[in-house]
Amino acid sequence: MWSAFANPERFERLAARLVPWFGWGAAILFAIGLPWALIISPPDYQQGDTVRIMYVHVPSAWLSMAAYAGLGGASFVYFIWRHNIADLAAQALAPIGAVFAFLTLATGSLWGRPMWGTWWEWDARLTSMLVLFLLYLGYMALRAAIEDERLAARAGAILAMAGLINLPIIKFSVDWWNTLHQPASVIRLDGPTIHMSQLWPLLVMALAFTALMTALVLMNVRNMSLAKRAEARARRRIEGEGT
């Protein structure tokens, strides 16, 4: 298992076999989850049909956080053992996590407007998500700014690990800030206690999102690894001919 991640060629073969499974799995789950979320599940007795936003908002939030955990974990593996595949995984996870963090913020805002009459509430969850989004932006900006690939990978890994350590503290501080200094928040994302008729479609959609992210990460890592090795081969050939 471990060695499959360390050896690029073996990882590429494994990924090539897994990507269709996760990809089609995601497609099937979306085919079930979307109608369930949009049609079958009943409107909420308080929130009406806006509750359907939950079925994309909550999975996005879950994935943006899972992606950061993965980013930090992969960075740690790369930093300690210098497995290139781990760095590629970190590189693949960052834009995905950033997009889902953005989607969480956007759908949260679009949910808040009809429900609570405000586009943005400085509540603890939205604010934490905003900070997480900034962490992703910082990570990607740092990697983009350093030209040497190895240096960029190392600097990125160090930053991602620092972010992972700091994230619980940030979360704590934002909760602390929110409970102590804000008037009681009007937004309650948990909403009324969730009903079974809502829980199932939510679960299916969360699985669909997760399968999709897994497929994309595996595919990207495989292609990045292939490109990297092909680039090295091409360069060796050109320089070999040049002399």
Binding site: V131, A141, A162, W176, W177
Partner: protein, 222 residues
């Protein structure tokens, strides 16, 4: 004199003299705090309520001002190589740099914070609590800024990058310092807890950030 002390003395002198020393961040903080009332209006109640947050935020921005120079010049002129091969480890150098940055460059921040808090209409004890919060938070602010500076050393226009990296990591300090001032102002009895949290963050940063900085610098040297 031990190598550690020799490097600290030198770094302190260079930080205090080079680039205007404490003048730059202090002037920045003063200017920011002078402009805020012009932006949000002279209503004393609003100003007093906003003061803790605005002052903590200005101090955070001021701590980012010098972060670019902390390691950038040393990397380009070869000084970092000299240190890396000297009897002082890069981890110790990181502690020294942050310490020199606080004690030679950032030290006016609590004073400016106190004066500004009075000018914004806070009472003396609250202004004192806010100022004490800044004292406790400065090591943490400097260490996180220095960490970002080490990661971005040698990068073009690293100032922007440093701000983007460091600001989210400094969120807890902003919350605790402003929280201390506000708790004192509102008399909620939680000023002490906020101050302790600010100090705890600084201590945690002191325990961890130097290793991150040293790892980042080693990578930049390779």
């Amino acid at each position: 004199m031990s190598a550690f002390a020799a490097v600290f003395v030198r770094e302190w002198r260079l930080a205090a003299a080079g680039g205007g020393g404490p003048a730059g961040p202090a002037a920045f903080m003063l200017a920011a705090l002078a402009l805020v009332p012009l932006a949000i209006g002279p209503d004393p109640d609003i100003l007093r309520a906003a003061a803790p947050g605005v002052i903590a935020f200005a101090a955070l921005l001021a701590s980012l001002q010098g972060a670019e120079r902390l390691f950038g010049d040393d990397l380009s002129d070869g000084t970092l190589e000299l240190y890396a091969l000297s009897p002082v480890s890069l981890t110790a150098l990181s502690v020294i740099k942050a310490g020199a940055y606080v004690s030679a460059v950032l030290w006016p921040a609590p004073l400016i914070g106190f004066v500004a808090a009075m000018a914004y209409g806070m009472d003396g004890p609250s202004a004192g609590a806010l100022s004490l919060g800044l004292v406790l938070a400065l090591p943490g602010l400097a260490l996180v800024s220095g960490f970002a500076g080490a990661l971005a050393a040698g990068v073009k226009r690293s100032g922007l990058l440093i701000a983007l990296i460091a600001a989210p990591l400094q969120v807890p300090l902003l919350v605790f310092v402003a929280g201390a001032g506000r708790a004192a102002l509102e008399g909620t009895g939680l000023a002490g807890a906020n101050l302790m949290l600010a100090g705890a963050f600084s201590l945690a940063a002191l325990a961890l950030a130097p290793f991150g900085m040293a790892a980042a610098l080693r990578g930049r040297l390779e």
